[in-house]
């Protein structure tokens, strides 16, 4: 194996086109909460991070975006992979993180610990990428808000039991607050801070 082969292991083979298509899928999902996007992630990050979260990382992160990682991810080869492929620095400080990554089954910290943005600059907040078990088959939620015609029903599997409560606190901080990207396998769904999450009986 040549140095070059090692160097490019797990990154986008065609960064321009693959990151564009991941972005468009993500943009559509952010613009239409409740929509499930499907796309081949085309990257292979070091475990335990999954491929779709890795694709989002390489598509959006670079030297301008400090990244916060869970202890499980921080202790893996991920920081080196992110540094190499994206030039993105890892930070311990959730308040300065532009992105945060939570691998499947890891604890999702309280959302208010991450950067919320300010009233003047609500965009200066953390976008949290959370890997879940599946985008379907879990406890159902009814979603309303911008991007949703009347309502959308989603049932992500692998979110904390108290998620609806965590999210309503985040929602109350509007226009501040975090935005969530949920990934599972080749699927992706988004919860921008505007989305109202109503729990439904399973």
């Amino acid at each position: 194996m040549t140095i070059d082969t090692l160097v490019f292991t797990g990154g986008f083979r065609e960064p321009v086109f693959q990151s564009q298509s991941v972005f468009r899928t993500l943009m559509d999902c952010m613009a239409r909460p409740g929509t499930i996007g499907r796309i081949a992630p085309a990257v292979l990050p070091p475990p335990p991070l999954g491929a779709m979260a890795g694709a989002v990382a390489l598509m959006l992160c670079d030297q301008d975006t400090p990244v916060w990682l869970t202890p499980g991810l921080a202790g893996s080869a991920l920081p080196a992979w992110l540094a190499f492929h994206a030039g993105a620095p890892v930070t311990d400080d959730r308040q300065t993180a532009r992105f945060a990554f939570i691998e499947k089954a890891a604890l999702l910290p309280s959302l208010s610990l991450f950067a919320q943005g300010t009233q003047d600059y609500p965009d200066r907040s953390t976008t949290i990428v959370v890997e879940i078990e599946a985008v379907e088959g879990g406890r159902p939620f009814r979603l309303t808000g911008p991007g949703i015609r009347d309502e959308a029903i989603v049932a992500p599997r692998g979110l904390p039991d108290l998620f609806a409560q965590m999210w309503s606190e985040n929602r109350r901080a509007f226009p501040c607050g975090v935005d969530l990207v949920l990934t599972a396998g080749e699927e992706i769904a988004c919860l921008p801070r505007t989305t109202v999450v109503h729990p439904l009986e399973a």
Partner: protein, 294 residues
């Protein structure tokens, strides 16, 4: 399309780092509808005023499978629209169209197409002055504070002064709107006729201001309300006669001078809309069968 033949890192002109930065701004803009996200606008191979903000937004979202339409004042064939379309054909080999219904991305200056936009379409506005409060308060630090505190009283005072002076709200372009009950937003210099089309649109609407370095957005199905008063409700322009070429009513019309003797007619500003109506047999008062001259 064979993507292998393109100079990889120059697809859509912008470098990948710039695209990432713009893409991050777009995602935040979608998450905070109507809020102006600062971004580090790049020099583009065209002067400001030619829609460099819209061009950067389009370049950051555009992919090989997109079909691009570019309009200026509703027309696909003005210099500005032709140049921008040619630019993206050159740097992205993207398919282009003049048909609103066929486009996945529509970049626009000054109009929203008459044809109802569909899910999956993105409308990219070229914005000269993104700050609706700018003419009331020149300082950016102050307007930012006004948005933060939802201090929009001055804006209402300005509109009310219109009423006091003219008996009605005289603002006809860039008529301010409130998005999802929170941010007051400049819809860019579209005629207020188009404001209702922004309300709960099926399409994603993205706004790029190059010189002022701002990106903002209205997601689909989002409430967009034109500012008004109970005793002076918002009204769109109305036209006495239908389009002289295609007979369309309830569309925005442009005045066209026919000769040097004061002859003139009013025709659809949306050229695609007019052409499609003519092609399907609609006729206005000045149209000749079989020969439509614009």
């Amino acid at each position: 399309m064979n993507t292998a033949n393109l100079a990889t890192y120059n697809f859509a002109y912008l470098d990948e780092q710039t695209k990432r930065m713009i893409r991050r701004a777009i995602l935040k803009a979608i998450a905070i509808p109507g809020y102006q996200v600062p971004f580090a606008s790049r020099e583009m191979p065209m002067p400001y005023g030619w829609g460099t903000g819209g061009v950067q937004v389009t370049a950051a979202i555009l992919g090989p499978d997109d079909v691009l339409k570019v309009i200026d004042q509703g027309a696909d064939d003005t210099t500005n629209a032709v140049s921008i379309r040619a630019f993206f054909q050159k740097v992205a080999s993207v398919a282009v169209t003049t048909r609103t219904g066929e486009a996945t991305i529509i970049q626009t200056r000054h109009r929203i197409p008459e044809e109802k936009l569909k899910p999956g379409q993105t409308l990219v506005y070229q914005v000269p002055i993104p700050e609706p409060l700018r003419f009331l308060e020149p300082r950016e630090t102050e307007t930012r504070k006004m948005h933060a505190l939802e201090e929009y009283g001055l804006m209402h005072v300005k509109l009310y002064e219109d009423i006091a002076r003219n008996g009605h709200i005289a603002t006809t372009y860039a008529y301010p709107v409130k998005v999802e009950g929170r941010y007051v937003m400049d819809p860019s210099p579209t005629p207020k006729f188009d404001n209702p089309k922004m309300h709960r649109s099926e399409a994603l609407q993205l706004f790029g201001a190059g010189r002022e370095k701002r990106i903002y957005a209205v997601p689909p199905h989002t409430e967009v309300v034109s500012l008004d008063f109970e005793d002076h409700p918002f009204e769109i322009q109305s036209f006495e006669n239908p389009c002289a070429l295609c007979g369309a009513e309830n569309v925005y019309l442009d005045e066209v001078v026919l000769d040097d003797k004061g002859g003139r007619m009013f025709v659809c500003s949306d050229t695609d809309h007019c052409e499609q109506r003519c092609a399907s047999g609609h006729r206005g008062s000045l149209a000749y069968d079989g020969e439509i001259v614009r």
